[in-house]
């Protein structure tokens, strides 16, 4: 194999599984260590820089980092990364003094954003401190987008939204809430220098089956219903509720129903339980609140009497897989099943809708009627118009909206500074030895054997009594410390130096997880099988040295390295060293800071 080039920024970045998986590349282990040290404000600020909404995300993030977490490969459960983030937010001091200040001088460039969800807010945060004149137009009464309109208060208290949205709006910008944008052309004609479209995917998919019209009064589109609950227009629902759909909207609908008078609430899905779109923990939370989830039932008809909904009839199906592994839902032939209910919430999907974007202004749409958006720059085919969040590539989540926003902000900044938008800044990377003494490291390398901690919950009866009462109580400081200690510090990299190695095997012998092998070189596929334990996780790289004096090479399988540093402690020559790799995605702030330094 080619010797590994550890200089390529992606190599060590991939080893930090959580950071690599996080769309915004939050330096997770860095903030987890700070939490363990009790430095909550510092941990918060690291998050705030990367993901803008630590308190919100610490309660609601889809957490792509957790399935990626290395700890989940060496034992049952990953580190509770998301809920540790919340600990930083809950326990921080007043950090307002550490936030950027509103720009003293405006730079004369006007940027407008459509929609005031996380995507637009994050673009605004990145740009406002540097003098941009920002206007955000949103049809809802308050800023926050779906964070405020959709995510139920029992998962995310409004005070947290107010706080973190406030940190951004305090940077100085014009909010035009309660105003709908009906024409992009008209907006462009107002002479803005750039437009950011952060309008989300605001339309709930319909379920057009017999009875829909007749029983309409008690059939609600999930996201519209949730938003009317959030804004206080709806405060009750029938006793018997059926929620149709298996995504996170369905989970929020059923749990909200339980708090608004529904005491017989069911979720009914077409697919199998396992394939539901909702995350495992969302399903768990729903079931914990006595909500059964019935699967393989396809809704056929809403039944009604005198214009009043009486229930839903379902066809029973089962999954059949073809040769290519594609699934088909085929009727089982059993008799249809009827469930009685008073209300139905339809949560079968979300769609984009751009009726307000004219199709003749140079902004191209594809065959699915979605705007053509560049995945790196977030630019559309109109030079002044950028997209991000759910409006760009369909419904995703908050952390993706934030990741898009950072890139869109860079693009807007570059465009308005007369620079090439396609020329992207590389990430900031540092690599530094953590050696403090012969067997002392700057990080705690003693691996905790503890299992994942559960987040304490409010008593169920109390939680169900009020839709605004937060269910999760969050980790206390002690639990947080114990959970933080489970992190393996994957950013503290094992760095190998061929000229120093005397091939004594000490590192091979001590490694608790058999990462290291000295062997003859070979092609990757074959080499992987020849290692001390075969390296069968192909998503994880092999670290291969240049040739050693015996003609062999050092091969390290990164897969399950615990970053315990024992290889480096055992190495008599310092051929292994533990070095902290810190990668920060470049943001507008960093571009401006480096430019300022260059000018001075």
């Amino acid at each position: 194999m080619e010797p590994t080039n550890t200089e390529a920024p992606d190599y060590f970045h991939k080893v930090v599984d959580c950071q690599w998986a996080c769309p915004a590349h939050t330096p997770v282990p860095e903030y987890i260590r700070l939490i363990a040290e009790g430095r909550y404000s510092d941990a918060y600020m690291i998050n705030w820089k990367s993901n803008v909404f630590p308190g919100i995300l610490g309660r609601t993030c889809d957490r792509p980092c957790e399935p990626a977490c290395r700890r989940g490969r060496v034992e049952d459960q990953p580190v509770a990364i998301c809920r540790l983030k919340r600990v930083a937010a809950d326990n921080k001091d007043d950090i307002r003094g550490r936030l950027p200040r509103p720009a003293r001088i405006k730079n004369g460039k006007r940027v407008v954003m459509v929609g005031c969800g996380p995507a637009s807010l994050a673009v605004a945060r990145d740009l406002a401190p540097f003098g941009y004149d920002i206007t955000i137009i949103d049809q809802d009464p308050k800023p926050g987008g779906m964070i405020r309109s959709q995510i139920p208060r029992f998962r995310l208290p409004e005070s947290i939204i107010d706080e973190e949205v406030g940190y951004i709006t305090d940077l100085g910008m014009t909010l035009r809430q309660g105003e709908r944008v009906d024409s992009l052309k008209a907006l462009l004609d107002e002479g803005y220098d750039a437009v950011f479209v952060g309008s989300g995917a605001p339309r709930g998919r319909e379920l057009s089956i017999p009875g829909r019209q007749e029983a309409a009064a008690h059939i609600h589109i999930g996201i519209d219903w949730l938003s009317s609950v959030s804004f206080g227009h709806t405060d009750k629902i029938g006793r018997r509720v059926i929620v149709l759909g298996g995504g996170n909207t369905a989970m929020d609908c059923c749990r909200t129903s339980r708090r608004l008078g529904g005491d017989d609430v069911k979720v009914i899905v077409r697919s199998g339980f396992e394939e539901m779109k909702a995350s495992p923990w969302e399903k768990e939370d729903a079931m914990h609140e006595d909500i059964p989830i019935l699967n393989y039932l396809v809704p056929k008809e809403f039944t009604h009497e005198n214009g009043r909904l009486t229930g839903v009839t379902f066809e029973k199906v089962h999954a059949v897989y073809d040769a290519k592994g594609r699934r088909d839902l085929v009727p089982t032939g059993e008799p249809d099943q009827h469930f009685e209910c008073d209300d139905v919430l339809v949560a079968v999907g979300q769609e984009n809708a751009f009726p307000w974007i004219e199709r003749d202004i140079g902004l191209e749409f594809d065959k699915w009627d979605m705007p053509v958006v560049n995945e790196i720059t977030m630019g559309s085919t109109h030079p002044k118009v950028f997209f991000g969040g759910d409006s760009a590539f369909g419904p995703k989540n908050i952390i993706w909206a934030v990741a898009h926003a950072h890139q869109a902000a860079i693009s807007i900044h570059k465009l308005l500074s007369g620079e090439d938008v396609d020329d992207r800044p590389p990430p900031g990377v540092t690599l530094a030895s953590q050696k403090m003494g012969i067997h002392e490291w700057s990080y705690d390398n003693d691996i905790s054997n503890d299992a994942r901690r559960r987040v304490p919950l409010r008593d169920k009866a109390e939680a169900l009594s009020n839709v605004k009462l937060e269910v999760e109580l969050g980790f206390d400081v002690k639990l947080a410390f114990q959970e933080a200690q489970r992190c393996l510090n994957c950013d503290v990299q094992t760095v190998f130096s061929t000229p120093l190695c005397i091939e004594c095997d000490a590192c091979v012998d001590i490694c608790p997880v058999d990462c290291i092998t000295f062997t003859s070189d070979g092609e990757e596929a074959e080499l992987r099988e020849r290692l001390k334990v075969p390296a069968r996780n192909l998503t994880q790289d092999l670290y291969v040295s240049t040739e050693l004096p015996t003609g062999r090479v050092m091969v390290k399988d990164e897969d399950v390295c615990l970053h315990c540093g024992l290889c480096a402690e055992r190495c008599p020559t310092g051929a292994w060293d533990m070095q902290k790799f810190l990668l920060s995605v470049t943001q507008v702030e960093d571009i401006c800071a480096s430019r300022k330094m260059a000018a001075e």
């Binding site: 691996i447 004594c504 608790p512």
Partner: protein, 351 residues
Amino acid sequence: MTYITKPRLHHPLLAPNALGFTRRDYEGKVSTLCAGCGHDSISAAIIQAAYELDLPPHRLAKLSGIGCSSKTPDYFLGNSHGFNAVHGRMPSVLTGASLANRELIYLGVSGDGDSASIGLGQFAHSVRRGVNMTYIVENNGVYGLTKGQFSATSDPGSKSKRGVVNHDQAIDLVGLALQLGASFVARSFSGDKDQLTPLIKAAISHKGAAFIDVISPCVQFNNHVGSTKSFDYVREHNAALNRLDFIEPREEITVDYAPGEVEIVRQHDGSILKLRKLSAEYDPTDRISAMGHLQLHQARGEVVTGLLYVDPDAKDLHDHLGTVQKPLNQLGDAELIPGPAALAAINDSLR
């Protein structure tokens, strides 16, 4: 040395052996030796061998004397029996233990100081008596524990770390073992586990006195230019006789070699030693020619490694003495006090 304990977590693909133990289950406490010490690699090879042999840990006793090498039994087979004897006195304790309970597997672990200097007599007698044991000397040419004085295996002409030249003749433990009648004799190198691990497995399965001299560089006091026990020196002068594949009795042997390239030796327990020859004329079952080969190549400055000699049908001390099969502590009154009739019979036989 390391202050944290080795993490319990292990590779999820780490395979269990027939007893359901992974290799990690055969480990001991974390080593306190210097980073890079050859002795730690030998411990790793012993762990690997015990795991591969599916040894029930409680069936093995590890005995040692004094020295860094003699400390190592603390770092492997943490669930086996152990005895740390006085300096150089491990062989007598092992002999006694073996006589008292022949059902255990005995592993003697010693150093060149422990066995060739202070314990030379003890070493010699345990070998010549044919005690059923595996005797490993972790040979670094110095007294590591007492800070690097030359030991009795230091080669004449080799230099200490501070530049002092050794003038005394070296004791060659392998040559001695051959002369004293050891029925399994091998030499290996801590830096070559592929060679060492099968040798340990074969020695453990061997009935009789099995001796392995393992050259084990002391990174702290004897790994410099001028040393004949350094990583570089051994790698440059290594003259391997053969590569051993150890095949357990229950395994199938596959014949995938050309005649003349491989020698097959079947041991008393049915295990098979498959020796891929690296030195054409070498016959590992001929003691006299083994001694000659060793002398010749050692005189040329080569370090001869591999399986030097094996007598697959050797007898051991118990055979010679006709001892009872049962461990002594399991003998009941009936066996221990046979009664006046038995006494009379003995007396009669002496008349």
